[in-house]
């Protein structure tokens, strides 16, 4: 539904040229919710603006629903934008228009009849739970209500695609959850294809089917959300994941960690398991078969897009040959093992 083909964007020219996007290839299938995540300044904002050509790519092609956006005349582009809604971090509602008139705006721009506008606006306000707010002004609304108005407005022209530019970044966690639920509902009920950019893993985890990770203008990961959360391919991906899961080893432990095993050390491991391996009785197996003790320092189980993801940081306590064998056993299971370091035995 949305496809970017070798899209690059460079600001300025000559020696002062700043590349914002470099050769980005991206495909969002019909009906999918695709999340692009990245740090501030990574190029997320430029990326989403290149889709509806608020920013014109320096090179590369953008197709929406089979139409080449980059090859259109100004008038064709305006028509194409009617089929592609967009919502923003700061809502961008017109302060001097009521809720009703804000939602009506894109229809007015298309010169729809008053009757069509009324029908469409009323049903959208109903759907977004704003029917009783129709005659209020944006200044009277909360952040979450404003974003609902913006969503209703973006859907007024019955687009096939919705672009979300950090749509929940200005909202508190509860409101974020309710806006995400609304986006998911729209996606399921209307079959709308959604491309969103965010710096919050929570957003990706909650509603996205597929995720792209952008770093210095390049798309460095592009995976199913379940795969990304269980096995990110890049260091940045792992950093995002660990920050999100808050699964960094405790500081006191980090200070004691040594990179190489010594005379009297225990390995500290981070285990990431997903799918079937979650239910493996891992700890008791290690204890029984290798005669070691396993001290769990941190653990977490998350459910992401129907897949269960378990994370654990554990210290394997035993003699050197026992722990080495235990590690080998761990490797044989269907899980990821990362030795974080070694700590001196305290016994």
């Amino acid at each position: 539904m949305i496809s970017l083909d070798k899209v690059s964007k460079t600001y300025g020219s000559g020696a002062g040229a700043v590349p914002a996007l470099v050769d980005v290839d991206l495909d969002v299938p019909q009906g999918a919710i695709y999340g692009v995540i990245g740090l501030s300044g990574a190029g997320k904002s430029t990326l989403i603006r290149c889709v509806n050509l608020l920013e014109r790519p320096s090179t590369g092609r953008v197709h929406i629903d089979g139409q080449d956006m980059t090859a259109m005349s100004a008038a064709e582009l305006r028509a194409a934008r009617h089929r592609c809604g967009m919502i923003f971090q700061h809502f961008n509602l017109l302060t001097n228009r009521s809720v009703y008139d804000n939602v009506a705006l894109p229809l007015e721009l298309m010169r729809e009849s008053r009757q069509t506008i009324q029908e469409r606006v009323e049903s959208l306000l109903e759907m977004t739970g704003l029917a009783d707010k129709a005659h209020q002004y944006p200044a009277q609304l909360s952040g979450g209500q404003k974003q609902r108005v913006a969503i209703a407005r973006a859907l007024a022209t019955r687009p096939k695609v919705l672009l979300c530019d950090e749509a929940t970044s200005a909202l508190d966690p509860q409101t974020t959850a309710s806006i995400l639920a609304l986006l998911q509902e729209i996606n399921q009920k209307l079959g709308l294809t959604i491309l969103l950019i965010t710096h919050e893993m929570e957003v990706v985890k909650t509603i996205c089917h597929r995720v792209g990770l952008i770093s210095d203008g390049r798309l460095v990961e592009d995976a199913e959300v379940g795969d990304f959360f269980t096995a990110p391919r890049t260091q940045l991906g792992r950093t995002f994941l660990n920050d999100f899961l808050e699964l960094e080893p405790p500081r006191a432990l980090v200070e004691r960690l040594e990179p190489t095993p010594g005379e009297k050390t225990h390995p500290v491991v981070r285990l990431t398991f997903s799918g079937d391996s979650v239910s493996t009785p891992l700890i008791s197996t290690l204890s029984r078969d290798h005669g070691i003790d396993v001290s769990i320092l941190q653990a977490k189980v998350e459910s992401v897009q129907g897949r269960t993801l378990g994370l654990m940081i554990a210290e394997l306590m035993g003699q050197a040959e026992q722990t080495t064998q235990a590690l080998a056993t761990l490797e044989s299971f269907d899980l990821q093992v990362e030795v974080l370091g070694h700590v001196q035995r305290t016994d």
Partner: protein, 217 residues
């Protein structure tokens, strides 16, 4: 206070109001579009035209930098062409209008500049034409700022119109100079000043009221 004096003050008040109204309305009609042009032709704006923008800006600045009393006499031939005479209230309204147009334009440009760029971006994402962006986004969103600018212009025009006496335009300022100053009549001077103060108060309050009423920020 003699009835002759009251008549004189009344007549002068009407002359001032007439000059301010005529020049204010025409200046708004011409200055608002000029202000819009100044804004939309800015670099990175919806109709970016850097060269046109610079030319318009230069002309506007020239208009604003000429002292009013010089403008008043400098454009006498032009005034004669427009109203058929170089003296009288109508003749004074011409330079007042000319002076107010760039003034309005800059205030309108400033008001438009206060509209968050995100609103224009949102309208573009909806497929709005530049004209639609101006009519449905920029002007309505800048309405408060524009009314505020027009209020400032009207108050400035009241003050400028005091110089209209130089071309026989009459008005309160002229009354104050001729009767109050030249004839050493402090009563007349005081009365004209009081009437002008009240007039400015009324215009400012009216403007503030309209801003409050039109703005939902």
């Amino acid at each position: 206070m003699s009835s002759a004096l009251i008549d004189l003050v009344w007549e002068s008040t009407l002359e001032t109001l007439y000059m301010v109204a005529v020049s204010g309305i025409i200046a708004a009609l011409l200055g608002i579009p000029l202000g819009i042009l100044l804004y939309v032709t800015r670099p990175r704006q919806i109709l970016a035209q850097p060269v046109a923008h610079r030319v318009l800006g230069l002309v506007t600045n020239i208009g604003r930098s000429i002292p009013f009393i010089i403008l008043l006499v400098a454009i006498i031939p032009f005034t004669r062409m427009i109203v058929g005479s170089s003296i009288g209230t109508n003749a004074a309204a011409v330079p007042l209008t000319i002076a107010a147009i760039p003034f309005v334009a800059r205030l309108v440009e400033g008001a438009l500049n206060e509209v968050p760029p995100g609103l224009v971006e949102a309208a573009q994402s909806m497929g709005a034409t530049p004209m639609q962006i101006v009519m449905k986004v920029l002007l309505p969103e800048a309405r408060g700022g524009i009314i505020n600018g027009l209020t400032i212009t009207v108050v400035a025009l009241v003050s400028y119109s005091a110089m209209a006496g130089a071309v026989g335009g009459g008005g309160l300022g002229d009354l104050g100079i001729r009767y109050g100053y030249n004839r050493f009549n402090p009563t007349v001077m005081l009365i004209t000043v009081v009437v002008l103060v009240v007039m400015v108060q009324v215009f400012q309050s009216l403007g503030d009221y309209l801003v409050r009423k039109s703005d939902h920020k």
